[in-house]
Symmetry: none
Subunit: 161 residues, 2 copies
């Protein structure tokens, strides 16, 4: 995407490599955020600076808290590629959710998706004061979790962390 085609190999020139790094890192963050927004999916990106750099802080998207959450979720699923099968319970939940999602789409799809995103982000990021309405959301979630806990669960997966 520039004046010349670039060979896909380590850039030996220090200045060029550093410039390229900063430019592409920025573009990458933008792309990841776009994907998350456009498609409403969860994603995270971690880019460490050069090893020789004094500041070894990584560029992260989205916020570190969110990233840590996604990363933890990833790490806690050593057998993640076997999640095809699901319990009757989970199936039921998915059906219900699917139905709910249909309703969502009929009403106010856009805003609703954004709301869910907001709620998840906010709860995890913990960056602001939650109002009563939010508390209700959280309470509702807690009830659901609690309910699920109290039901027999035939497919118990170990959590590594």
């Amino acid at each position: 995407m520039g004046r010349k085609k670039v060979k896909l190999a380590w850039i030996t020139n220090d200045a060029t490599r550093r410039t390229t790094f900063e430019k592409r890192k920025k573009g990458l963050v933008k792309k990841v955020s776009e994907l998350a927004t456009l498609c409403g999916v969860e994603a995270c990106l971690v880019v460490y600076g050069p090893q020789d750099a004094v500041e070894a802080e990584p560029e992260v998207w989205p916020s570190p808290a969110e990233t840590a959450r996604v990363a933890t979720r990833f790490n806690s699923m050593p057998e993640m590629y076997r999640w095809r099968k699901m319990t009757d319970q989970e199936d039921f939940l998915r059906q219900r959710v699917a139905k709910l999602q249909d309703q969502l789409r009929r009403q106010d799809r856009e805003s609703r998706e954004l709301e869910v995103s907001l709620f998840a982000h906010e709860i995890m990021a913990g960056g602001r004061i939650l109002d009563d309405a939010d508390l209700n959301d959280a309470m509702g979630l807690m009830q659901m979790i609690d309910l699920k806990l109290k039901q027999p669960n035939p497919l118990k997966i170990q959590n590594m962390s």
Copy 2:
């Protein structure tokens, strides 16, 4: 980058959104790998599929093992150190969140129930089955939310995981 300029917002059309998701995810993986090669840096990318998808397998680069390593490295960093350089992303998130909060306030009781269900689904979609430890974590989260509710906004970011 196509026939038309795309609005940076959730794509409502299911087919379009899915196509875009697959295309961009692929492009993103390529970009991340290029950055790592060209600049000799460590980086990782995790992209989850739509929450309503049955297969909850995330797209991961580099290999899952490598990603887990980078993610672990990230998670093991001291908290404050991690937060330092996130100003831009945080501001971005906050702006988005502020806008979303407005919409959130307009929701009626019924829609709230749907949101909670969807949020719960997001958790379930990860394939996790909550156990007692998870419940305790959630309870802790709730306490924290409650605390925040009763205190003036400290504008302090905290890690809840």
